[in-house]
Amino acid sequence: MAGWTRHQGLGVGLPFENIDTDQLIPARFMSAPRSEGYGKFLLHDLRHDGDGAAIPDFPLDDPAATGASILVARRNFGGGSSREAAVYALVDGGFRVVIAPSFGDIFAGNAVNNGLLPARVTEADADALLAAMPGDLAIDLDRCTVTAGNVVIDFEIDPVWRTKLINGWDDIDLTRAHEREIRDFIAARRAARPWAWPREVGA
């Protein structure tokens, strides 16, 4: 995964609270292999009616929002199911950043693991940004700012996640450096707390 520090792109507003991961990608699409591309599943049931026809005036389908890479939403974005497919749908749909007042905990971690920035702003700043969408935005991960025209808004992100996004770190690679510590830890734990291992049970 490539790291990044600055991103300029078109922002689009999704002015709803509680956009859960079931909305981001309905469960029935998740058996598809990722190689198919998950962008077409993004917010599928909010964007389409029961017959599969596009719902008019859906913000993401506004021609002025074509090519958007930054999504602005309201509180509790990405709550619910741990499905990383919700992040795949956003990333495959061209998004690099989601800006909202709060995020589902597991979603935010999944986002960072896929190079997608979950940027936390105040409710007031989210409202102000939503009013300016669609529109161009500039994100600076070094300074933790969103710039819209001549307005600069600060966003928050956990420092661990910020570092990871900037460096494009892969956790499995990082953990390799600790292989010996892990081995020693397991041996010590097994000796001190043998009960923590499952009892041997036949097939």
Binding site: P15, F16, E17, N18, D20, D22, Q23, P26, A27, R28, M30, S31, P33, R34, D45, L46, G50, R74, R75, N76, G79, G80, S81, S82, R83, E84, A85, V87, S102, G104, D105, I106, G109, N110, N113, N114, E123, D127, D158, P159, V160, T163, D171, I172, L174, T175, H178, E181, I182, F185, I186, R189, R193, P194, W195, A196, W197, P198, R199, V201
Partner: protein, 474 residues
């Protein structure tokens, strides 16, 4: 003297392999549960040419996609009619075979929902760190374990290393003091706090549930309470283990026995928050004030006592809240101000990792016994062992005689992945965990509530206060 610690801190300390300067810690994972939905993670592993580091600590369960009908003793994945679903189940079987971990597959008598099977088999123990690529892994916290859901990238990491990177979450305690009124259950406790604090009220926190009403809960009740922690945005929920926990674990197949159990009991006795331990946030809820609760909207925070009315967006605190209520009522096809007990339902569902354990089925059956459901419904026990137990007790007959369908174990209509769905526009009273738009199927309308409240809805054909129906039954 060392600083006082919370229960959570003690488990964290015991699992910390490495603490990085930036605040991330590498934790050891004692149990890793995988299911059909873990296919993305296994693919990542294959792409890197890596194997499973600790297959003895990895357990597979077929639950998310499994059919609940037409399952016999010799039902292999290859006999599932829908090819996409069959592929999901057989991929899990292939990965279990290839990597050498134990699988509670479709034809295993212990198969069921992962968060029911783990505790039932004694794989879930106090003081463990438990991961699964499923948000309701918080359920396992009922035993005083740190159980939390993870995404596919993290599942691949745990498979490859048996560890996980974590930032220490804020500690939060929710104390339920006093005694629950008759007809009020763990589900109502959970919905009560989520309604009060909101779906992001516990955001990222490690919640410890405490207080006399929590101590009085059975393990089943504690699992329901911890299960729903994620719906309040928490990383995990936990209850300090006690005599109730230790009794539950006695003679569970994978749980320690003999001297190992004696040693475990000594270690588990330490798993309590020290008297002076500090929590970043503490909330106290009066247990006797909690009434049976139902949800009216499209988020678990949209929950009210059954005696109340559907909220009016005109009386909302902010414009965005008004907009959210309006959108929810529009989706749910409800009028502001109508009594919740006037909402007619089309069907009911009793099942899921939240409320499909034996005690849940017994409670629902107690209300349904000798009564007739006014609407159709599905009852899917949490595991094949729960199913067998319920049948031994004759509960299946109570459900079927009431007119409900008794099916096999799986995630079923909670998430609709196996094809058990609520039809568009239909309204379902459900013991599940999410009333999100489309959760139970595109266009489905879900009302969350406890098993006895679902039974009351079945019998009356509308959302109803179960309390008057309980006389002489519970």
């Amino acid at each position: 003297m060392s600083a006082p610690l919370t229960l959570f801190d003690k488990i964290w300390q015991a699992h910390e392999i490495h603490a990085r300067e930036d605040g991330a810690s590498l934790l050891f994972v004692d149990r890793h549960f995988v299911h059909e939905g873990s296919h993305h993670a296994f693919r990542k592993l294959a792409e890197r040419g890596q194997g499973v580091a600790q297959p003895d600590l990895t357990f597979g369960v077929a639950d998310h996609y499994v059919p609940t009908r037409g399952r016999g003793k010799d039902h292999a994945a290859t006999t599932i009619a829908d090819p996409a679903i069959a592929r999901m189940v057989s991929t899990l079987e292939e990965n279990a075979g290839k990597h050498g971990f134990r699988l509670f597959g479709l034809d295993d008598p212990r198969q069921g929902i992962v968060h029911v099977v783990g505790p039932e088999q004694g794989l879930t123990l106090p003081g463990l760190v438990i991961n699964c690529g499923d948000s309701h892994t918080s359920t396992h916290g009922a035993f005083g374990a740190f159980g939390f859901g993870i995404g596919a990238t993290e599942v691949a990491h745990v498979l490859a290393t048996q560890t996980i990177w974590q930032k220490k979450p804020a500690r939060m305690r929710i104390r339920f003091e006093g005694k629950l009124a008759p007809g009020v259950a763990a589900k109502d406790m959970a919905l009560a706090w989520i309604a009060r604090l909101g779906t992001d009220g516990g955001r990222g926190a490690a919640i410890e549930y405490a207080g006399s009403a929590v101590r009085a809960l059975s393990m089943e009740g504690r699992m329901t309470l911890c299960n729903l922690s994620i719906e309040g945005g928490a990383r995990c929920g936990m209850v300090a283990p006690d005599a109730t926990t230790f009794a539950y674990l006695e003679d569970r197949p994978f749980a320690p026995q003999g001297t190992a159990r004696e040693q475990a009991l000594a270690d588990w006795a330490e798993l309590v928050s020290d008297p002076d331990a500090t929590f970043e946030r503490e909330v106290v809820i009066d247990a006797q004030d909690i009434a049976p609760i139902v949800t009216w909207g499209t988020s678990p925070e949209d929950a009210l006592p059954i005696t109340e009315s559907v909220p009016d967006p005109a009386r909302a605190g902010s414009a965005s809240e008004a907009e959210r209520i309006r959108a929810a009522l529009d989706y749910m096809d409800l009028r502001p101000g109508m009594k919740l007990s006037e909402i007619a339902v089309d069907q009911v569902f009793i099942g899921s990792c939240t409320n499909a354990r034996i005690e849940d089925l017994r409670a629902a059956a107690a209300v349904l016994a000798g009564r007739r459901a006014q609407v159709p419904g599905l009852v899917s026990p949490g595991s094949s062992l729960v199913k067998a137990q319920a049948e031994a007790e004759g509960l299946d007959r109570i459900f079927t005689e009431a007119g409900l369908e008794w099916v096999a174990a799986g995630c079923s209509m909670c998430v609709g992945m196996n094809g058990d769905i609520v039809a568009p526009g239909k309204r379902c009273a459900s013991t599940t965990n999410r009333n999100f738009r489309g959760r139970q199927g595109p266009g489905a309308r879900t009302h969350l509530m406890s098993p006895i409240m679902v039974a009351a809805a079945a019998v009356t054909g509308h959302l109803a206060d179960v309390r008057p129906m309980l006389a002489g039954r519970l």
